[in-house]
């Protein structure tokens, strides 16, 4: 159980190692608070879908399993969407269309197909928890880099005086640059190890 949980954090980090679900990662990482919001929403969906799918894995016919998974995932996304609209309307407006798009986040479907449909409920739950937290951590890393470089602040706090923010990091182009360099950096670490 612990192993399933820990692997999602670093060794099989969904963003940096598996390179899945990059669309929302790049789009919402403008500020750390958005990043955390997205991470929590995705973790919730992952937990729900992984648990339910591993519960019903024996009932689902093999040929139509993908549509079945999508229905389960979409249900949880809808729940997340409605809760966010009710309790965090500001966050909902900031994340915009990327909340419904969690449905097509490759991480969620990927875990259902690669893990939940073969493993027990408990294992799938911890796998989802690890993956969700790994995704959130990656989002926090990217968004704190982008927010600091783009605005000079993190969560509203100024870290160093006299730092001239580079506006470009708040733009789409900055997001692509940050993720490209981070992926390169992690590749470098991996190459060093082997």
């Amino acid at each position: 159980m612990i192993k399933e949980f820990l692997k999602g954090l670093v060794k099989e980090n969904p963003t940096f190692v598996l390179v899945l679900g990059l669309c929302p990662t790049l789009a919402v990482s403008v500020s750390v608070s958005n990043g955390i919001g997205m991470g929590v929403a995705a973790t919730f969906v992952l937990l729900g879908s992984n648990t339910i799918i591993s519960l019903i894995k024996n009932i689902i016919p093999d040929k139509i399993r993908i549509p079945c998974y999508i229905v389960v995932i979409a249900t949880f996304v809808t729940i997340a969407e409605m809760m966010m609209k009710a309790y965090a309307p500001l966050l909902d407006r900031a994340l915009g269309i990327y909340v419904p798009l969690i449905v097509v986040n490759c991480i969620v479907l990927g875990r259902a197909e690669a893990f939940a449909c073969k493993n027990s409920v408990g294992k799938s739950f911890f796998d989802a928890l690890g993956m969700g937290i790994g995704f959130t951590l990656a989002l926090v890393l990217i968004s704190s880099l982008r927010e600091y470089l783009g605005t000079g602040k993190i969560l509203g706090f100024t870290l160093a005086k006299g730092f001239e923010p580079a506006f470009i990091f708040g733009m789409p182009s900055g997001a692509l640059l940050v993720i490209g360099l981070l992926l390169g950096f992690f590749n470098l670490l991996k190459n060093r190890e082997s």
């Binding site: 990059l22 669309c23 789009a27 449905v103 182009s173 490209g180 590749n187 190459n191």
Partner: protein, 202 residues
Amino acid sequence: MNISQFLTIFISAVFIYNVILSRFLGLCSFVAISKETKPALAMSLAVMFVTTMSSILTWLIYRFLLIPFHLEYLSTISFILVIATFVQLVEMVIRKFAPPLYRFFGIYLPLITVNCAVLGVAVLNIDMFFVKGKAIAGSFYYSVFQGICVGLGYTLAMLLMSGIRERLELCNIPKALKDFPLAFIIASIMSLAFMGFNGFKF
């Protein structure tokens, strides 16, 4: 409904808010399939077809099924189901009636189901062309046109990227930056160029 509105949709969907370089939709397929021009083109055409058709279908469903029964909150589920079914159907029809086309599209068609661009267009259309649960004038035509334009934007980014990456094959690249990282850095520079269209107004 007027012509300048169509022009605005065209410019903003293809250039200013390019689906890949500015909205980050369909990024996975963008970095995975843009290594060579031919598959990139096949994928782009398939995406353009599906975004157009899904714009039509999801608009009809939202306007005539979800709004009358006050089921707007089911839009995500119904859209993704319709898109998945439609893609499956197209795949079967093409395989039966146009085998050469099927070989051309190959594995790219099923991949489109989980392409964010397709669902993204559907959600965007609903966001932009429905005000307080009512369709604005000409909303159907705008939605379909936006579907086509997003597909065009995808094709443009895909072709530019695959052209660049084909040339990079011959270059000496640092080992750590191979494949994904370099693709993102190139996309970043392309996105910078596309930012030049910002503030374009009619």
